[in-house]
């Protein structure tokens, strides 16, 4: 049973078809608490579908997902303790940054410390009740997460005014505000500049270390996957081609595809960098 505790997420025999066409076939893997996992693959390999199944926007045809040993296969997306950061940010254009982040908190009920007569949480009390957050509690959370992503100066601006990198940080703040223990990223940097990608990569890693969140990161960028991940799921043709640490994948590619798609590619990049700095 001690092994079970170690597993944050277990994916067991997931299958999915769209209109008869196989998208995912017998996918199984485990992820440990606090790990940073990348799902790496070319367009159409099934990685995004897998992500959607994990968060619950899509339903698998068969298979089970366990989180902390509990079956969550049929839970609502918002009841899985997971957050999702989208590629196109999908911020609400009519709301300020602050309101974008606060939006999901308002009116949402959670198990929270009970309030005293003045409306403040009773300190030291372990008694939890299902209630909405007070204005002060919401303000505290929102101000904090906006500060974490470094956008305090922009709190009252609308997202349309901001750069892609800033918008993506708002999206991350919006996810952080709900304090999920797993955060999923769906190619979050695909629309960003190389320089901003670099700095945002570091920030995401820092966030993960700071809050010990489990992160699952979908990408098609080998460099990104290798620089950020504890382990990488390389996907090809609706299957997992290899699931291992970056080092092991590079040294011992499981098959021809992994060699071509990952190893050769990285080699080429390294070579290009060497040549350009000569």
């Amino acid at each position: 049973m001690e092994i079970l505790n170690d597993k944050k997420i277990s994916v067991i025999n997931i299958n999915k078809r769209y209109n008869g066409q196989i998208v995912l076939e017998d996918i199984s893997f485990d992820i440990k608490e606090g790990e940073f996992i990348s799902m790496l693959g070319a367009s159409g390999c099934g990685k995004t579908t897998l992500l959607k199944i994990l968060i619950g926007i899509e339903t698998p045809d068969s298979g089970t997902i366990l989180k902390d040993g509990v079956d969550i296969t049929n839970n609502l997306p918002s009841k899985r303790g997971m957050g999702l950061v989208f590629q196109n940010y999908a911020l609400f254009p009519n709301m300020t940054v602050w309101n974008n982040v606060a939006y999901a908190l308002k009116g949402k009920k959670d198990m929270l410390p009970i309030l005293d007569a003045t409306g403040k949480p009773v300190e030291g009390s372990k008694e939890l009740v299902l209630r909405k957050r007070s204005k002060e509690e919401i303000k505290a959370i929102v101000d904090e997460v906006i500060a974490i992503v470094g956008l305090s100066d922009y709190a009252n601006k609308k997202p349309g005014k901001m750069s892609g990198g800033q918008q993506q940080r708002v999206a991350i703040a919006r996810t952080l505000a709900l304090n999920p223990d797993i955060i999923l990223f769906d190619e979050p940097m695909a629309a960003l500049d190389a320089d901003i990608r670099m700095s945002l990569r570091k920030e995401i890693k820092a966030l993960q270390k700071k809050f010990n969140k489990t992160m699952i990161y979908v990408t098609h960028d080998q460099e990104e996957a290798f620089s950020m991940s504890d382990r990488i799921i390389v996907m090809n043709d609706n299957h997992i081609a290899q699931f291992d640490t970056p080092n092991n994948i590079y040294k011992n590619p499981a098959n021809d595809f992994v060699k071509k798609f990952v190893v050769n590619h990285l080699d080429e990049k390294v070579l290009a960098i060497k040549n350009s700095t000569k």
Binding site: I57, D61, G83, L84, A104, K161, G165, H220
Partner: protein, 849 residues
């Protein structure tokens, strides 16, 4: 099993879906069905044996046909001129031409009658005697009220016409008149038929006008009205209704089957026609405009005279009496009813139409399609028919529904449902599809999303919907006249009461008041809706804008980021004077857009990147669907983009250049031998593919059409270019452009410029820019391209066009496209097999397999 469990998750949206379908079923379909069941054999034999019935059909057909023909001709002329003349107050001319839409048809009848009737204006002032009431007045009146709808349809179509054929006609010396007959009319054929039906249906089912001016000529709606109102023969009314329904149903079916997508965007015309043409056109439009408003001027005048036609002295008495509660012509009660009805129809109708559009576009379920169909079907049911249906079905609700204002509100909502529904639908289709998913993962309820995101993002449309419903509820009499009583009569029906009593002054006062209210409503809401849309947009766009020079400098620095750059080198790189460059760089340092480090390297700051962000190329669309026929035999085995030249696939040169600049959102449109393109994924895992299923039966417009939804600040490239200098692809672009190389002579596609912009495209030319198939489309132009590609693709002969013709010729007034200079050797075009052999001699021995 798991799936089954998931599906049992209950979604309360189903209540809304069912509720909306039920509403439309009970208030649209049920009354129509019920009406049919109420017809007895006696009714049938009475009507079918009644000579007057056939006479009425004949009369109606005749005057509807003539009226429609005349208004179609006039509207075509006005729309033609208005779409081509250059005139600053065009918007006001449009309002002038659609003014008749703001008043009841009976008011137009009143105007016509007081002009042409015995003792009318023309009789009194010029002694012109017309032979009383009848066909002539019917035709004049019907032209006036059907003109706006025909005009709007044709005007919209003309704004999207292919202008290139006119250029050709012009160079051949074909006269304007001849090109109008030879080019414009054939292009408009479908729209003209559609407009013809719309106008015919409108006139055929209208009875406001005949009531005023028909005299002894009996029309079908009047015959129906008599049977129902005077003789209480509802069954007979139902049979006559069916005949009224016929042209409407034909028109509806025609529209559904043949109509092209109708969501138009207005654009400013930049053609400079000759002064003579301009004057002629303006004259014609104003002439027609005046003809249209003469009936209005007539009734407005009468509303201010003591006794028409005997005492023409000026007075306010009619208005004073109308607004005093105890006068015999008091309209206070009517006005109150009308305002209540119109406001309620506006509020409730907008809500229901908005919700229906929401359900049919943004929720899933079996009812969404039927809901959409019923919603647009309301277009086909004339108000008279709906009114009769309501009389039958809701008899039992007398006192609490029938006989109250409520039934009038409901019947108006249903009668005018389709237009606001389509407006809302259009708005919903433009809102980001991801919001529902975001909400689901964040635990935001659909309700909250609806009120806090959907509504704020479509508020302009909501205002337009309200205004449309309000205005039409103010003017309608068809459905409501069967359903209202002494206490619930609205203003428009009030006119019919005074018509019976022959009190022209009161009729005129009411007509004028309706016109005034609706005019205020229309102008006010147009302004308001423009205003809210604009401030929404402005908030998004403003703030940081680089001018052209600043952009060039900043983009140049970014391209050489973290390198040592002297100001001289930058100035040379962007071809600016050293002084200007120096000024710009100092400004950048001050604004914190760049930093110069101690080791003299220059770096763009995050703020600098933010300033460049609006110019960042988001993606590339690569067109690779065609069969390179001139490259046979090698293309028999391999699509041209995948042919290797000196060991490298042609397409790789382009893809490498794109990816080197960080543009990895690349979509390749494939068709011919599409499977072979999969090999690209190995080297380029980020590639996405879109299939063009009709690549072999259409020109390359079909490839861009297949990718239309993703056109967004992107390069559109041909896949068969060998990019020898990757620098032709840059990461940032200031505005839309085509790559071009200056040549003294060419027999290939080439551009001519006027100022900075492409003014003409031709095949072959001298001292021009040779066109290279790499273009960039900025935010604004991408949006227009998405719409214009669809318009042109769906137009006649659209599929045979090159896509480049859409922005450069057909819709060229929508776009401002620059030429981006490059050298001819930067990009090599291999046009045929023999050129390939010259470049790569290893193909000399290529054999057909």
């Amino acid at each position: 099993m798991e799936k089954a469990k998931r599906n049992t998750r209950f979604d309360p949206i189903i209540f809304l879906q069912i509720g909306l379908v039920l509403i439309l079923f009970v208030f649209l379909l049920l009354p129509l069905f019920f009406m049919l069941f109420k017809v007895t054999g006696d009714d049938f034999s009475y009507v079918t044996k009644d000579e007057i019935f056939y006479k009425a059909i004949g009369n109606s057909l005749l005057y509807s046909l003539i009226g429609t023909l005349i208004s179609t001709v006039l509207a075509t002329i006005c729309a033609y001129f208005l779409s081509r003349i250059h005139f600053k107050g065009k918007k006001w001319l449009v309002i002038l031409l659609v003014l008749p839409m703001l008043i009841p048809t009976i008011s137009i009848g009143l105007g016509v009658r007081t002009l042409f009737g015995v003792n009318g204006f023309l009789d009194k002032m010029f002694g012109l005697k017309f032979d009383g009431l009848g066909f002539f007045d019917l035709i004049v009146g019907s032209v006036v009220f059907s003109f706006p709808i025909v005009f709007l349809l044709i005007y919209d179509a003309l704004l999207y016409e292919d202008k290139s054929s006119y250029d050709a006609a012009n160079t051949l010396g074909v006269s304007r008149f001849k090109s109008f007959i030879g080019i414009t009319l054939p292009y408009l054929r479908k729209t003209l038929i559609s407009a013809f039906f719309a106008s015919f249906t409108l006139i055929f089912a209208d009875y406001g006008l005949p009531m005023e001016v028909a005299g002894k000529v009996k029309t079908l709606p009047m015959y129906l009205y008599e049977q129902v109102i005077s003789q209480f023969k509802y069954g007979r009314g139902a049979i006559i209704s069916l005949v009224l329904l016929v042209p409407a149903v034909i028109a509806f079916v025609f529209d559904v089957l043949f109509k092209e997508s109708s969501d138009g965007v207005a654009r400013s015309e930049k053609i400079r026609p000759s002064k003579l043409f301009n004057g002629l056109g303006l004259g014609a439009i104003i002439f027609v405009g005046i003809l249209l408003i003469i009936p209005m001027i007539a009734f407005i005048t009468i509303s201010f005279v003591n006794r028409f036609p005997s005492d023409m002295s000026f007075t306010f008495d009619n208005y004073i009496n109308a607004f005093s509660p105890n006068s015999t012509i008091s309209i206070l009660k009517f006005l109150k009813n009308s305002l209540i009805i119109s406001l309620l129809v506006g509020l409730v109708g907008t809500s229901v139409a908005y919700l229906s559009a929401y359900v049919s576009t943004r929720t899933k379920g079996v009812v969404t399609k039927p809901l959409h169909l019923i919603s647009i079907a309301t277009l086909a049911v004339p108000g008279l028919v709906l009114g009769i249906g309501y009389v039958f079905l809701f008899k039992f609700t007398k006192g609490w529904f029938a006989g109250t204002l409520a039934i009038l509100v409901v019947v108006n909502i249903i009668h005018y449902f389709s237009s606001p529904y389509l407006m809302a639908r259009n708005a919903f289709e433009k809102i980001d599809r991801n919001y529902e998913t975001v909400a689901e993962t964040l635990g935001i309820s659909k309700n909250s999303l609806f009120f806090k995101v959907m509504i704020p993002n479509s508020i302009g449309t909501i205002l337009q919907m309200f205004s449309y419903l309000f205005i039409n509820s103010m003017i309608t009499i068809s459905a409501v006249s069967f359903l209202c009583n002494q206490n619930t009569t609205p203003l428009s029906v009030g006119i019919t009461i005074y018509e019976n009593r022959g009190v022209w002054e009161a009729e005129s006062v009411i007509s004028t008041i309706i016109l005034l209210i609706n005019l205020l409503m229309k102008i006010g809401f147009d302004f308001l809706s423009n205003y809210v849309t604009k401030i929404g947009k402005r908030k998004v766009e403003k703030d940081m804008e680089l001018n052209r020079f600043q952009f060039n400098v900043l983009a140049y620095i970014e391209e050489h980021n973290k390198q040592v750059l002297t100001q001289r080198r930058i100035a040379d790189g962007v071809t600016l004077s050293l002084g200007t460059t120096n000024k710009i760089i100092n400004q950048f340092i001050e604004d914190d857009l760049i930093v110069i480090h101690n080791d003299k390297t220059i770096e763009v700051t995050e703020k600098g990147y933010k300033a460049l962000e609006p110019y960042k190329v988001r993606k590339a669309i690569v067109i690779a669907a065609g069969f390179g026929s001139r490259m046979v035999p090698v293309t028999l085995d391999t699509p041209k983009p995948l042919v290797k030249v000196n060991g490298v696939r042609i397409i790789d040169t382009l893809l490498d250049a794109l990816i080197a600049k960080g543009i990895d959102n690349i979509t390749v449109v494939v068709g011919y031998k599409k499977e072979q393109f999969q090999q690209l994924l190995e080297k380029y895992p980020t590639l996405k593919f879109i299939e063009n299923p009709i690549y072999n039966e259409s020109n390359n417009i079909s490839s861009v059409y297949a990718a239309k939804d993703i056109i967004d600040r992107c390069y559109i490239c041909e896949a068969d270019l060998v990019v020898t200098n990757p620098k032709v692809i840059t990461k940032y672009q200031y505005c839309s452009n085509y790559l071009g190389a200056y040549v003294s002579e060419t027999d290939d596609w080439c551009f001519f410029k006027k100022g900075n912009y492409i003014s003409k495209v031709s095949i072959g030319g001298e001292n021009c820019w040779h066109m290279i198939g790499i273009s960039y489309w900025d935010e604004k132009d991408s949006a227009k391209l998405r719409e214009d590609i669809v318009k042109v693709f769906n137009s006649r002969g659209g599929k045979e066009k090159y896509w480049d013709n859409v922005p450069l010729t057909v819709c060229k007034h929508d776009f401002k496209v620059e030429v981006r200079d490059c050298k001819k050797k930067d990009v090599t075009e291999i046009d045929n097999f023999s050129e390939l052999v010259i470049i790569d001699p290893s193909y000399a021995n290529y054999k057909k397999q």
